[in-house]
Symmetry: D3
Subunit: 249 residues, 6 copies
């Protein structure tokens, strides 16, 4: 892949932004993370509730779900609060569902027991990639919430089957690139969010042609970039959690 | 690909359900289609409005958007009306946005002029694949609405750059298969909706691991199946529209 | 009554439109009917739920209720979805209540046992008379849902005390006429919807002076027309249900 | 008609409750009436706005509309506020529409000019017949609001073509009776609200079989009672307005 | 304090408007009061419910809460109904909470037992001071509702620890004055609502600088006026309840 | 005042928590502040919009308004999002209005010109005093937004007439104290929020007896404490803004 096209922040095409993962940013939550990916900043809280939704009671199985929202001035132009509008918008719904689904893919419900872990992702500042940063941070907060349960002997087993992270890739001015900033994202021809497990398999692939439809070759280039980015994020997650980072992955 | 696993309706793994596309099912709408894919039945109406949303006025550009909904007894168990609940659910929002985005990918806004085409997809009966059937039918209704505009000399050019269709693929009991019915969909490990242009490129790829994450090989198998299905749907669309079906595709 | 005034579709003043009643239009519902009255087309589903609303639990009595809605492009001009507006409009509420009330008038709650039959009337295409067509079709769907319950020995007796049908009558250009189409309805001076039992008595009479108030003589003429129309509808319902049509009533 | 059956308050079957109409109960409104019909008490305000709804602007025509509501403790058991529930109920919608329609039947829009008269009917205490009391009082408030406009030379003519009043009738324990109290209304077999113009013609007839369907003879008895009651109400309205009461009507 | 500045209705600066408290204005409610303070008119109903909110069940403690609302034409210009808007406004919420809090300050929950008294304050006509009139009247209605419970032996003790009343004070054209009418209130520099117990202590003090901030001296003058007004209101409440009015207070 | 009663964090009764004011915490907003008062953490953004609400257009006057909200896990127990509930709660409304009113008290609308400054206060973590911290931080963000306008020559004068800050005071276990933490606030007998201008006058005084009513002496003690706290906050604001702190105040 050629690196000739330049990016507005000087990164290589296959380079992530600087990522900072701060655990325990909140005092009350069972798990909490402030993730910073360049100027994007998302606060994630994991709340443990010792019960499950009604439709799941008595099953012995746990539940993980998520809500995503943006502060009104996270964006360049202020956006109206959804609470004021009285309804949650389509984009918010869609991302909330994506985050929850992504986390559930690495959860063993039985091991979790009849506990719910509720993930709140609140975007404090947005510069592209807020949904993927949410997922990457949410895994770390989830890990801490699971530890909180383990320390209190409230688990029926080991609920985390693997880690999960997510990154965006896209085609800007004809060049496939990793981890799009807002200015890149808003001019991308193709935009793809890829959620992967720690062992390098796919949990969710969402690719959209914003302009021209894309062909199979381009799709493959984008998936390669995403796999590289997610492998690096997995290592950053492990480092943040104080876990050994696997060698040679 | 082996055909050994059997399907509940006896289809081959790479076989579409019977598809019936009935144009002009409604008397009032500028374009309308009743699509039947097996027992799935979606009524699609295309409404022409000689104006565009406020944020687009004066741009000379047109707009295409879509809304998707299900009748309460489209499903096996009755579901509550969203109008009664007072809010549109996440799934409805998500699919409405997908349908609109898919159609816009083949639209030349400039050629459309300052007209809006509003697509309504109402699921009369659901048996899996309602969002992909909606997209496939919506293209036909859109085509008719464009013809309606053309006959009245209300276009600034030729707004349809290509056709668009969509199909679901998934992995059921370890076997990749095309066009999942509800019983297959609800037990699938991986579920993917693929929207493609008539020339065989990708407009949207949405793949989700419902159980195990999936690897690159499986992803490739699923994309192959989707390409085959969408090529057949494109030919069915052309036939329904009375257009010549391309040979050897 | 003089037949001199002509109607836009050539019908006699006391003539119904062509009515087509198709049972089992849906695969999932316990009862379902597509009714076509000229260009008006309503899909009615009857859903059986083996319980009653909270305020009725333990009473031994059943319940029948209804919801009415229109698809956005049922009408000549597209109307906004009530789910999008976030509230059900006055007209929708009013008709839903009318349909439910009309059906309950022929129900023996005790014989129904603690079951609820929920009627959904969705107007696919509107050309006047959608509320009366809904009632007429709903009775047939209700009959099928009751049979479904009977076949499963879930009834405490015979819940249907009589049949119920409905028709509109009105005064257009001074002439009383039966079964108004939209163009007639929208220019009518007086508009009346009459719901009747199979034995020819009144269940609901709703007459409104749209222009001039009307006098007792005109009211009587309209009730005569309605009685004639409802008698014919009752016979059509019986025919659709495969029941003997009474002779010489 | 036999008078044998006794009523809980000792009235004759064809006797209205004591009606008290107090004009100018409010200081701000252009017209206002407190109507008391037995224990039923409704406060009606008529508000003049020197404009019309958007869809009517430039037509030269006026508009009259109405809203009906109940205070939470108007009823024997407290009912929840609709503002708290966040939606207006079906019954409220239905009555609001009925009141508006009834008043519009006696309005000459052209003479009213591009003014709107908004009628607010708020039930302070309910003991049956709140919707009919609302209509009867609303006419008087409307009359005062029209006078307010006339005194300011804001009318294009004389907008009131006639008066309008309303009363309920019903069949209780087999006996047709006039002006039902709540205890009568809640046990009535048939319940009918009849809106009439001052000249004795019908504006709205809404009859409902709560129990048994009713036949033509009973319908005629009820209409006779309603005509008697409305004639008396018309005289009471005229007296309240200081107008000569017609003799021999 | 100088009395030089004149008030639009000729009152002295430290003089209340004429207050009229009518008990039992409603037939259904366990306690009800129509309070008139000049042209301000509020109808207050106290409803007894023999249970408490879910979060309080089994505690042995009672609950008192309140809702405040205005009729649309209580004000000089008609205001839209909150039920129509579908949401309760900030001002309504704020006053409802204030009324409930004020009453709860004089309630012994244990003596009340597991009963709820729900207070509804509906402003029929507004001319300033509606929230304070609501509190003053609500205490009287509450007193009657407590008597209703006492007569039925439904209390665990004597729940009313003291009386409560409220009055507004403010600075208009530089002069501190008591009990502001609307025209005074809307031009006041400082506006203060003071809720006091019968023994002359403070339950709630809410002072707002509408124009200039105010200093400690002015604050003291306003509190003196409020104490005078509340002492008079306490005596009026006692008189209305037929209780001995304390001498020399 | 005696200092004998000890506080859970060892502070003196008249001592503020550690306050940290971080300006420019956000990149997009025209003014932004992260305020930390002990464990309470509020992010405030000031957004400039070059226009005013409709009812103010053409007046030449500016506008300042505010919205307050809490992240779901700001609190010890997770609270449901108001956007999900579909309505803004009473407490949120009340605080939003308080913040806006407090800031407007120091604004010269004419000097601001037809600009709106929108203040968003989002509580990231709550440990008591979130509304007063919001006001104190909002002033600093407002100051920066005004500077932003001044640098672009968009002002008609100098809109800030003074500074504004706020602090809570209360009576806990009989002892008046300054700046309550959550554990103190939830057991306080009296709770008061006091908003003051930089010159030491009152903008808003809101005192509530949570338990016993309070007398004039206690009220005076609380106001003294609040005056001391607000003077310190004013100095901290000036220091954060790089302004000279007045001596001897």
């Amino acid at each position: 892949m050629t690196s000739t096209p330049t990016r507005t922040d000087g990164r290589a095409l296959d380079q992530l932004r600087d990522i900072r993962i701060t655990r325990n940013w909140l005092d009350h939550a069972e798990g909490s993370v402030l993730i910073e990916a360049g100027r994007t900043r998302v606060l994630v809280a994991a709340s443990v509730e010792p019960s499950v939704p009604r439709w799941r009671k008595g099953s012995g199985l746990g539940w993980v779900t998520a809500e995503y929202a943006m502060l009104p001035r996270a964006t360049n132009e202020r956006t109206q609060r959804e609470a004021i509008k009285g309804r949650v918008g389509g984009r918010t719904h869609e991302i909330s569902r994506l985050v929850g689904r992504s986390l559930r893919a690495v959860i063993d419900y039985k091991a979790l027991g009849e506990n719910t872990i509720m993930i709140d992702c609140d975007v404090l500042q947005a510069d592209g990639g807020t949904r993927t940063a949410s997922i990457t941070a949410a895994y770390v907060a989830l890990h801490d919430a699971v530890s909180w349960l383990r320390e209190r002997n409230l688990l029926a087993g080991e609920p985390l089957k693997d880690s999960v992270s997510a990154i965006s890739v896209g085609v800007v001015n004809g060049a496939p690139m990793l981890d799009l900033k807002y200015d890149e994202d808003s001019t991308a021809d193709t935009d793809m969010n890829v959620v992967m497990s720690g062992d390098g398999r796919f949990i969710e692939v969402q690719g959209t042609a914003e302009g021209e439809p894309f062909d199979r070759g381009l799709l493959n280039d984008l998936l390669d970039l995403a796999a590289k980015g997610n492998a690096e994020l997995r290592d950053l997650q492990r480092a943040a959690l104080g876990l050994a980072v696997p060698v040679g992955k």
